[in-house]
């Protein structure tokens, strides 16, 4: 079984920053990513709130460069899905689709995934009108009406991106005000292609072979209406990717990992960083800070315990 000083689970900004710091500390480091280095940020169109890029940058460019930087300092990358872990021994065991690995420390940076709506039609039409990635699929909706569900930063940023293609972008939100950052809101309110559908939730996604309409319910009046759209992009919040950690690391009632200021979990030698932790602000700028701290804390732990 291959042995490492640090095994980082997850290759988003938190994991990539942890890799960079661990690599520079000359720790033997493995980074496991199941899909795409860069995580959620990699599929974000425009990132305007990362310091040092006043003109804005795309998520894929920013995270590609983070990956390059971590690789430059010797981090090993592996595309693999973690199926099980045993974190309680002195050496931590990580079991993946590509084999078993042993680490003196583990940094959990698995982030979070877009929450599904859970309404009828969502599963059925995934890939045929239902999408969770506007930068992947937006171009299919050239001159077609689409809806974005949600009112946070992700929802509104991606709605703005979709106006490049779609004939009309409906933003369906269950409240009567947005949660997104003010400058993002201002852009959306000024965009003539965007139309807001307030106080509304999706009851059902309807269609034949492809999506044809959303059945909406107004939460104030109970009134139902069908909104004809060809695509629906779902950005209704996040669920932490911690299913594989049950019984291993303490999680809060929503599944996030509580950590100390030094990114320690309740298990010695196991750290967590980024969106997967209990925190106020889940952004690239906070994730990279967490990752750096976790790597330095891991280095210190190894010095003291091995």
């Amino acid at each position: 079984m291959a042995a490492y000083d640090v095994i980082i689970i997850g290759g988003g900004p938190a994991g990539l920053a942890a890799g960079l710091y661990a690599g520079r500390a000359k720790l033997k480091t493995l980074l496991l990513e199941q899909m795409l280095a860069g995580g959620q940020a990699a599929t974000t169109d425009l990132i305007e709130n990362y310091p040092g890029a006043p003109e804005g940058t795309t998520g894929s460019k920013l995270t590609e460069r983070m990956e390059e930087q971590a690789k430059k300092f010797g981090v090993e990358f592996l595309m693999a899905q973690v199926t099980d872990v045993d974190l309680h021994g002195r050496e931590k065991i990580v079991i993946t689709s590509e084999g078993r690995y042993q680490g003196k420390t583990v940094i959990i940076a698995t982030g979070a995934t877009h929450r599904k709506l859970g309404c009828p039609g969502e599963e059925e039409f995934t890939g045929r009108g239902v999408s969770y990635c506007a930068t992947c699929d937006g171009a299919f909706y050239e001159d077609l009406p689409v809806a974005v569900v949600g009112g946070g930063d992700s929802a509104i940023t991606e709605a703005l991106f979709l106006t490049k293609f779609a004939s009309r972008v409906y933003v369906v939100h269950r409240r009567d005000a947005l949660r997104a950052t003010k400058v993002v809101q201002d852009k959306a309110f000024a965009e003539p292609k965007i139309e807001f559908v307030w106080n509304s939730v999706v009851e059902e996604i309807k269609g034949g072979e492809m999506v044809e309409a959303l059945r909406l319910r107004n939460v104030k009046t109970g009134a139902l209406q069908d909104l004809p759209v060809k695509g629906v992009f779902i950005y209704v919040g996040l669920v932490p990717n911690t299913g594989f950690l049950k019984g291993q690391v303490q999680l809060d009632e929503r599944g996030y990992i509580p950590v100390t200021a030094n990114m320690e979990t309740n298990v010695p030698g196991v750290f967590a960083a980024g969106d997967v932790t209990v925190k106020l602000l889940r952004q690239v700028v906070t994730a990279v800070g967490d990752g750096a701290t976790a790597a330095v804390a891991a280095e210190k732990y190894i010095e003291e315990n091995f």
């Binding site: 199941q34 899909m35 795409l36 595309m79 990635c133 992947c136 492809m210």
Partner: protein, 110 residues
Amino acid sequence: MSEFISELTRDTYEEEVKRSELPVVVDFWGPRCAPCLALLPEVEKLAQEYSGRVKFCKVNCSQNRRLAVELKVMALPTFLFYKGGEVVAQLSGPDATKENIKAKLEELVR
């Protein structure tokens, strides 16, 4: 250009996919789709591994959007799995992981 994966267009789809003797997998990708780009090297490896048993094709959707839409592909990445010219399975968006693709390939050759 890969020796294990053929690039499809609307003109070659019928011949390459529908009339193939071997089972076929088609990878729909696009240059703006970051998850698609991350998967491409992995798909290349799988194409080598299954060489002679499954035919691998890919469609660049930014150049062949009409073909994708005709096949009801509206999300990237999407993988369509064919046996005897008919679609027998599909993986799209977040479901299109390396592990899921492998599992479908095993079903295809079983």
